[in-house]
C-alpha cells in the first residue's frame, strides 16, 4: 500500500470488456487512465465512443460529444465501486478502501490481489465484488462482478516510459 501511495502520477492504457447477459458477445472499449495524487482520476475512452470520465473529490464529470455532466458521487453511491476501488487503491489509501469495502489481501508483493466487497447495502445490491490484481506499485487487472451475473474486466498496461 505505501508503495502505491508513493506514486504521485500515473498513466496507463486500458482495455475493458463488459460481459452482459443481454449481449451475446462482450463489448470492448479501450482508452487511457490517468491518476494524480491524491484524488484525481481520469478515464478517457477512445474507442468505440469517445468519452471522458473524471473524478476529483466527490465530483464526477462525464464528458461525451460536447455535453458535460457533473454528478455528485455521494448522491450516486452505486457508481462508487467503479471509481473508488481504483482510485483508493492507486492512492494507497487503505482507510478510504476500508470505509467503502471489506478488504481482503492475498498474494505477495510481486503478484498481489485485493478482493473488495461493498459495505453499503445499497451498493451491495448491484455489485457483489471488485477484484484488483497487481504487481508492486502497478495495477494489472480490475474485475467487477455484478449481482445479476454481468461483469466487466479491465486490463491495464503501463505506458512505455517516454
Amino acid at each position: 500500500m505505501h508503495l502505491l501511495a508513493a506514486r504521485r502520477h500515473g498513466e496507463t492504457s486500458f482495455v475493458e470488456q463488459h460481459f452482459l447477459k443481454l449481449l451475446k458477445r462482450p463489448t470492448e472499449s479501450y482508452g487511457e487512465l490517468i491518476y494524480d495524487a491524491p484524488d484525481r482520476l481520469v478515464k478517457r475512452t477512445i474507442e468505440p465512443r469517445p468519452e471522458t470520465l473524471s473524478v476529483s473529490g466527490d465530483e464526477l464529470t462525464v464528458q461525451r460529444g460536447g455535453r458535460r455532466r457533473v454528478l455528485d458521487l455521494e448522491a450516486h453511491p452505486e457508481i462508487l465501486p467503479f471509481i473508488e476501488s481504483i482510485r483508493a487503491t492507486l492512492a494507497g489509501d487503505l482507510g478510504s478502501l476500508e470505509r467503502a469495502f471489506d478488504v481482503e489481501f492475498a498474494g505477495d508483493l510481486a503478484r498481489w490481489r485485493l478482493t473488495l466487497r461493498p459495505r453499503a447495502p445499497q451498493v451491495a445490491k448491484t455489485v457483489s465484488q471488485v477484484r484488483i490484481e497487481g504487481t508492486r506499485d502497478t495495477l494489472l487487472e480490475v474485475e467487477i462482478l455484478e449481482t445479476d451475473g454481468d461483469r466487466s474486466l479491465m486490463t491495464l498496461r503501463e505506458h512505455p516510459a517516454p
Binding site: 475493458e16 463488459h18 452482459l20 447477459k21 443481454l22 449481449l23 451475446k24 458477445r25 463489448t27 472499449s29 475512452t45 468505440p48 465512443r49 468519452e51 470520465l53 466527490d58 465530483e59 464526477l60 462525464v62 461525451r64 455535453r67 455532466r69 457533473v70 454528478l71 455528485d72 455521494e74 448522491a75 450516486h76 452505486e78 457508481i79 467503479f82 471509481i83 448491484t126 445479476d148 454481468d150
Partner: protein
C-alpha cells in the same frame, strides 16, 4: 354665532366628515402599480403581468452563509424539508432529490408519450438498431450502468433521453447533497411562493415563514450553528422592503415636517389658537386630497401620501399670508386676489400632470389640485369666520423690516445690472445643461425603484449563484386554451431551435418540455407499431447488434400497453417536481392561457444581452396561426421604454403646464411685460437647480422634472407678491405721508409672510431629501433649493423696482 357663519362652518364640517369617510375606507397600495401605465399596450400589459404575478415574481432566493460547509449543508437540507411541508410554498428546490423517485416512476411509465424521440421511424429496423447501439455503448460507462436494469424495458433509451432533455435546464452544482454557490461558500435554496407576486402581505408572510423555519432549524442544530446567517432575496423581498421603506418614509416625514412647521409657527404666532387655526387649511387640504384620489383612482398609492408632505409646504403658506396680513381690513380686496392667482398658477401646473399615463403622477396632480383648492377655500371662507374676537398674533413687521432693509442694499445696485447678472447666471446654467445634455437624463425605470441598493446587490449575487435564467427575455404564447398554447409553445420551440444551434440563444424553456400538447402525445402514441410488426423489427435489429432479443420481451409488452394508454393531463403531474416546473410556465386568467418561454443567454454568466432581431424573425414565421399570439417580451427593454414614454409625456405635459401658467398670468395681469417679470425669477431658479444637479452628476429623472414644475407652481406665489408690491409703491409715492407709512408696513409684512412661508416650504421638501425613497428624494432635492432660489431671485429682481 351669526347664521351665515354657522352655515359656512357647518358646510365645511360636512365636507370634512365626508372626505374623512372616503379616506378611511380607501384602499392604500404600495406595490409597483404607481409606476405602471394605466392604458397599457399589449406588450406593456404582458410586462405588468409578468412583473406582478409572473413566475419570477414569486421566487425567493435563499442562501445560508458562514460556518463550515457541512453545517451549511445540513441546515439547508433541514430548511428544505421544513419549507416543503409548508403550504405557503408551491415548490422548494435545494438539490436534494426528494421527488426523484416519483419523478423517475412518472417519466418511466409515460416515456412513450414524453420522449420527443418517439416517431414511427424510431421503431423501424434501422431506427431500433441505431437507438439500441447507443444504449449498448451507454452500458459501458458507469453512468449507463445506472440504467442497466431498465434496458429490457427500454432498449431504445427513451428514459435516458427524457432525463437528459430535462437536465438541459441548468442547475447549480451540488455539494453534500445540496446546491452551493460556485465558490461553495453558500448553500442555496429556491422557494416559490404559492400566492401571486402582487399579494405583498402573502410575500411578507412567506419571508417571515422562511426566517422562522431557519430559526427552528438552527435551534435543532444546536450551538455549533450560531455563526451561520440567512440571506433572502427576490422580487417578494423587494416588494416587502419597498413597502416598508415607503411606509416608514411617509410616517416619518409627516411627523417630522409637521413637528418642525408647528414649532416655527408657534415661535412666530406665540398663540396656540392661531397655530391650530393655521393648520386647518393644511389638514383640510390633505384630507380632501386623499379623498379625491380615492374617488378618482380607486386606490391611493403610498407614494402619493409621501408627496402629500409637499402640500403642507404650500398650503401652510396660505394661512401664514392670512394671519400676518389679515390685520388689514382690506385683506379680502387686496391680498386675496394675489393669493388666488398664485393658487391658480399652482393648480395650472399640477393640472398638467392629470392626463399622465403614469398613475403616480396623475395621482399627485389630483391630490395637489384638490388639496390646494380646499386649503385656499378654507383660508378664504372658513378662517375669517373662526377668528375669535380680538384675535392677534405677534407683530411681525419688525422682522419684515429687517428683511426689507437687507433688500434695500441689493436695491442700491442698478436694476439693469441685476438683470444682466440674472441673464449671465441663466446663460451659465444653460451652458452646463447643453454640455451635459447626453448624460442629463436617467433613462431606466429602475431609477424610480424604491428598492434599497443592498437588496438589489443581494439579489444579483444569488441569481448568479443559482445560474438562474434572468427571465428578462421571454416569449409569451397566448391562446384560448391550454392545448392551444402548448401546441403554440411546441411550434415556437421548433422555430427557435436553429438559433440554439447558431448560438444566438443558449436555450429556451417551455411548459411543453414537462407536458407535451395532447396533439403531440396523440401523434407519438399513434406512431407506436402493432405487436407483430415491432417484434419482427426488433428481432432483426437485435440480431445485427448481437443482442439477445428474448430478453427484450418486457419492451414489447410496454409498447403495446402504451398504444392504448390515456394521454397525460396537467393533473397527472401532481406529486412530481415536474408539476412546479410546468406550473411556473403556464398562466391562466379568464379565457386567456399563456405559455411562458424564458430564453437563456448563449453564454451563461456573462451579462450578454440576447439580440432580439433574429428571434423576432424566427417568431414571425409563426404568425397567422388562428387565435394564437406570440410575443417576444424583453422585460428590461420594455420597462425602460415605458419609462422613456413617461419621461417624454411628462416633458410635454410640463411644457403645457408652463404655457398654461404663462397664459393665466398674461390674462390676470393684463400685461406681457409684467408676466415676464413674474416668470423670470422662476425660470432662473429652475435653470440654476437643473444645472446644479447636473454638476453634482445626478442624472435627472421624471421626478426631477415634476420638481421643476413645482418650483414654478410654488414660486409663482412669491413672484406675484413682489409684482403686486411694485405698483403699490408707485401708487404710494403720490399719496400722503400716512399712506406711505402704511405701505411701508405692508411691505414689511409681505416680506415676513413670504420668508416664513418659504421656510416652511423648504423644510417640507427638504425633509423629502432624507426619505430614502428615490422618487421622494428626487422631488425634495429639486424643490427645496428651487423654492428658496425662486424667492431670492424674485426679491432681488424686484428690489427697488
Amino acid at each position: 354665532m351669526s347664521p351665515r357663519r354657522a352655515a359656512v362652518v357647518a358646510a365645511w364640517l360636512c365636507v370634512l366628515a365626508a372626505a374623512g369617510c372616503i379616506a378611511a375606507r380607501a384602499r392604500y397600495v404600495t406595490d409597483l402599480s404607481a409606476f405602471l401605465p394605466s392604458h397599457p399596450t399589449e406588450a406593456q400589459r404582458l410586462l405588468v403581468e409578468q412583473l406582478r404575478d409572473g413566475p419570477a415574481s414569486r421566487l425567493l432566493l435563499i442562501a445560508i452563509e458562514g460556518g463550515d460547509a457541512a453545517t451549511r449543508a445540513s441546515l439547508c437540507a433541514a430548511l428544505g424539508r421544513r419549507l416543503r411541508a409548508d403550504r405557503e410554498f408551491s415548490s422548494v428546490g435545494n438539490g436534494a432529490q426528494i421527488s426523484a423517485g416519483r419523478d423517475r416512476e412518472f417519466l418511466f411509465a409515460h416515456r412513450y408519450l414524453l420522449s420527443d424521440a418517439v416517431s414511427a421511424q424510431r421503431f423501424t429496423v434501422a431506427g431500433l438498431e441505431a437507438a439500441m447501439r447507443e444504449t449498448v455503448a451507454d452500458l459501458a460507462s458507469p453512468e449507463g450502468l445506472l440504467l442497466k436494469s431498465l434496458v429490457p424495458h427500454d432498449p431504445t433509451g427513451e428514459m435516458l433521453h427524457i432525463v437528459e432533455e430535462l437536465s438541459r435546464i441548468p442547475a447549480p452544482q451540488t455539494r453534500d447533497g445540496v446546491w452551493v454557490s460556485p465558490d461553495a461558500e453558500r448553500a442555496l435554496l429556491i422557494a416559490q411562493i404559492a400566492a401571486p407576486g402582487s399579494d405583498t402581505d402573502a410575500q411578507q408572510h412567506a419571508i417571515e415563514a422562511v426566517r422562522t423555519s431557519f430559526g427552528a432549524v438552527l435551534r435543532e442544530a444546536g450551538r455549533t450553528a450560531r455563526t451561520v446567517e440567512l440571506r433572502i432575496a427576490g422580487p417578494g423581498v423587494f416588494a416587502v422592503a419597498s413597502r416598508a421603506s415607503i411606509e416608514r418614509a411617509v410616517v416619518r416625514l409627516s411627523i417630522a415636517s409637521g413637528a418642525l412647521i408647528v414649532m416655527i409657527l408657534l415661535a412666530l404666532y406665540r398663540s396656540l389658537p392661531a397655530l391650530l387655526l393655521g393648520l386647518l387649511p393644511v389638514a383640510t387640504g390633505a384630507l380632501i386630497g386623499v379623498a379625491a384620489v380615492a374617488l378618482g383612482f380607486g386606490a391611493v398609492h403610498g407614494i402619493t401620501l409621501g408627496f402629500g408632505v409637499t402640500l403642507i409646504g404650500e398650503a401652510v403658506d396660505y394661512s401664514i399670508y392670512f394671519f400676518i396680513q389679515s390685520a388689514r381690513s382690506s385683506w379680502k380686496e387686496r391680498l386675496w386676489p394675489t393669493m388666488r392667482l398664485g393658487m391658480l398658477t399652482s393648480v395650472c401646473g399640477f393640472a398638467s400632470l392629470l392626463p399622465s399615463g403614469f398613475p403616480g403622477l396623475a395621482q399627485l396632480g389630483a391630490y395637489s389640485i384638490s388639496g390646494l383648492v380646499a386649503a385656499a377655500a378654507v383660508t378664504r371662507c372658513v378662517l375669517p369666520q373662526l377668528l375669535p374676537r380680538g384675535f392677534a398674533i405677534r407683530d411681525l413687521a419688525p422682522l419684515g423690516a429687517r428683511i426689507a432693509s437687507l433688500l434695500e442694499r441689493a436695491g442700491a445696485v442698478r436694476g439693469a445690472a441685476r438683470w444682466a447678472l440674472a441673464l449671465a447666471l441663466a446663460g451659465a446654467a444653460l451652458a452646463v445643461l447643453v454640455v451635459d445634455r447626453a448624460t442629463l437624463w436617467d433613462r431606466e425605470l429602475s431609477s424610480l425603484s424604491p428598492i434599497p441598493p443592498a437588496e438589489q446587490r443581494s439579489y444579483a449575487l444569488l441569481r448568479a449563484d443559482l445560474g438562474a435564467p434572468d427571465a428578462l427575455e421571454l416569449v409569451i404564447v397566448s391562446g384560448p386554451s391550454l392545448e392551444a398554447v402548448l401546441e403554440g409553445a411546441e411550434r415556437t420551440a421548433r422555430a427557435l431551435a436553429p438559433l440554439i444551434e447558431s448560438k444566438v440563444i443558449g436555450g429556451v424553456d417551455s411548459p411543453a418540455d414537462y407536458l407535451p400538447s395532447l396533439a403531440t402525445q396523440r401523434a407519438r402514441r399513434a406512431s407506436l407499431p402493432a405487436a407483430e410488426v415491432l417484434r419482427a423489427n426488433l428481432d432483426r435489429a437485435a440480431a445485427a447488434l448481437g443482442l439477445d432479443a428474448a430478453q427484450l420481451a418486457p419492451f414489447l409488452a410496454d409498447v403495446q400497453a402504451a398504444r392504448t394508454a390515456p394521454l397525460l393531463e396537467p393533473q397527472d403531474l401532481a406529486g412530481t417536481s415536474l408539476a412546479a416546473g410546468f406550473g411556473a410556465l403556464v398562466m391562466h386568467e379568464g379565457r386567456t392561457w399563456r405559455a411562458l418561454m424564458p430564453l437563456r443567454a448563449a453564454h451563461p454568466g456573462a451579462r450578454a444581452r440576447i439580440d432580439p432581431a433574429p428571434i423576432r424573425a424566427a417568431l414571425s414565421s409563426l404568425a397567422g396561426a388562428a387565435q394564437l399570439s406570440v410575443h417576444l417580451l424583453d422585460l428590461k427593454r420594455e420597462s425602460d421604454a415605458l419609462y422613456e414614454d413617461y419621461l417624454h409625456e411628462a416633458m410635454r405635459f410640463s411644457l403645457a403646464g408652463l404655457l398654461g401658467i404663462v397664459v393665466l398670468l398674461c390674462v390676470a395681469l393684463r400685461s406681457v411685460a409684467r408676466s415676464a417679470r413674474v416668470l423670470a425669477p422662476l425660470v432662473l431658479a429652475v435653470l440654476t437647480v437643473a444645472a446644479a444637479l447636473a454638476l453634482c452628476r445626478i442624472e435627472l429623472t421624471l421626478l426631477h422634472l415634476v420638481g421643476m414644475l413645482l418650483i414654478v407652481a410654488v414660486g409663482s406665489n412669491y413672484a406675484l407678491f413682489f409684482d403686486r408690491r411694485g405698483p403699490d409703491r408707485r401708487g404710494a409715492g403720490h399719496g400722503d405721508l400716512e399712506q406711505r407709512a402704511g405701505a411701508g408696513r405692508e411691505t414689511a409684512l409681505t416680506f415676513a409672510s413670504l420668508a416664513v412661508a418659504n421656510l416652511c416650504t423648504v423644510i417640507g421638501f427638504g425633509l423629502l431629501s432624507f426619505s430614502g425613497v428615490p422618487v421622494l428624494v428626487a422631488l425634495g432635492t429639486t424643490v427645496a433649493p428651487g423654492a428658496f432660489l425662486a424667492l431670492l431671485f424674485a426679491a432681488l429682481l424686484a428690489a427697488g423696482a
